[in-house]
Amino acid sequence: MNALALYGRYVVASLRAQAQYPTATLMLILGQCAATSIEILGVYALFSRFGSVGGWKFGEAALFYALVNITFSLADLLTRGFEVFGTDFVRTGAFDRVLLRPRAAALQLAGYEVRLSRLGRMMQAVAVLVIATRLAPIHWDAATVAMALWAITGGVAMFCGILVLQATMAFWTVESLEVANVLTYGGVQAAQYPLNIYATWFRRLLTFGVPLACVAYYPVLVILNRPDPLGAPDWLLPFTPLAGFAFLTLSFLAWRAGMARYASTGS
């Protein structure tokens, strides 16, 4: 069985497990939807009070908000195994069992659990996307839809990269460090607003350190057909989501270095 088919089996097994408890799964999705949708209320309140910021109105800001939340919900759906890697695999010694199987460890972790509850965030983000489309001058045609999907793909790769790095740290620390949350949840928090409103050092960090701007800011400029207020050349913008894949590749290089020095906790 090739890797993709095996991954498909993992996903189906995980979905069937959750389908055994349909009510609980539905409640978890709705709870997640409620918990994550309050952020748009804060964005709305600030725009309704101040009017606009950095040249953006609420409808345009809502597009930034919607795309980064859709992106993150997908990444969050797929990376549970990496998120709990330190606590549930390294500390308990369960990772030894993973290594004994003749398959890539990263593939097994990716297929560990697909959490449907994370669709709650996507539900509210899609609702915000509809609102954004009504409020802002967004023309959805083949080109802009393709751009949005391309940005989401690059963004999922980037957030998965952060989760892989978080898991990699567990080779040294044994525990899962929640510090990575500042990049995942904190990244979403930051990218809910157009990034040109932030201080320069912070924007540079989110462009060249963790390429959040490349997957959640520049592509949205293309969709809105706006030039970058900070002067990035127009021809470059559609290519920026590539940075998400580059980040994921570097993360997997770090992961391999971590694997090479893994010593079982022995329990």
Partner: protein, 274 residues
């Protein structure tokens, strides 16, 4: 004092236990620093666009953010995990056998749990946002001291009532957990409600004007918005006293409701575990 001793002991035991988790406190501090930084940059950007539209000054808004991040663990976002555990394992049976008021006992432990997580982070946050930031030349982003002596003196009862009210809200959540055996459902409702209506996400005055009248009367306002505005004297004189009265009044009401609900729940409780 003697009748209070068991409750103080329950508080102290929980408090001291949680102070041992230093790494958790450091990680929490780092996360809250980052979060506070983003919030402040967002505020600064909006103030830069149209400062006249804001209900409070930028310096006060920044202080509000740092106070909120420092005292984040004092907000009743999620039910006390030990209560859920005690109910599922049957440990709650011991609590009902103690010759103590069960509500008071849980209340003291929950208060200890919240304060012990909040205080180390608050100290670190004061050191960083109050002292380090001005020293490195970022004074405009700093956490300011209380606006006046009066504000400082009024903040003391406001802080005490803030903790008391937060624990009363948390107790309601704990009781629902004990009745339903699961904290997931309660927490998924409690967290967003508290974040929005306490003023944790935004000071309540930032929400649209039509909502203002009832936003300032509901109980959760006493957990964040009222005490923080007393701190920088946005509420002063009579308004501050009204704020304290709101906190004290809601604390009494919620404790009374909690006691009734707890008595009812304890009567119907079926022991789990074995």
């Amino acid at each position: 004092m003697a009748p209070l001793r068991p409750y103080l002991a329950a508080f102290r035991a929980r408090f001291q236990l949680l102070l041992e988790y230093r790494v958790a406190a450091l990680a929490g501090f780092a996360t809250q620093l980052w979060w506070g930084g983003i919030r402040i940059m967002v505020f600064a950007a909006f103030y830069g666009a149209h400062a006249a539209a804001a209900p409070i000054s930028l310096a006060d808004a920044i202080t509000y953010v740092w106070l909120g991040q420092a005292l984040l663990a004092l907000q009743p976002w999620s039910a006390d995990p030990e209560i859920g555990h005690a109910v599922r394992t049957g440990g709650v049976g011991y609590d009902s056998l103690r010759p103590l008021d069960a509500y008071g006992f849980w209340y003291a432990r929950s208060l200890g749990w919240m304060l012990a997580r909040a205080l180390p982070r608050a100290v670190l946050m004061v050191l960083f946002a109050g002292f380090v930031l001005p020293l490195v030349g970022l004074g405009e982003w700093a956490w300011r001291p209380p606006s006046s002596l009066e504000a400082a003196l009024l903040f003391i009862p406001a802080f005490v009532l803030m903790a008391a009210l937060a624990a009363a809200v948390l107790m309601l959540a704990n009781i629902v957990v004990a009745a339903t055996l699961n904290e997931r459902g309660v927490n998924s409702i409690l967290t967003p409600v508290v974040i929005v209506f306490s003023g944790s996400m935004l000071p309540l005055n930032f929400y649209p004007k039509a909502w203002q009248s009832w936003l300032h009367l509901q109980p959760l306002a006493g957990i964040v918005d009222v005490p923080f505005r007393i701190y920088f004297a946005d509420l002063h004189g009579g308004a501050a006293l009204q704020g304290l009265a709101l906190q004290a009044g809601w604390t009494l009401v919620l404790v009374a409701i909690g006691r009734l609900a707890m008595a009812r729940m304890m009567r119907r409780l079926e022991m789990q575990g074995g």
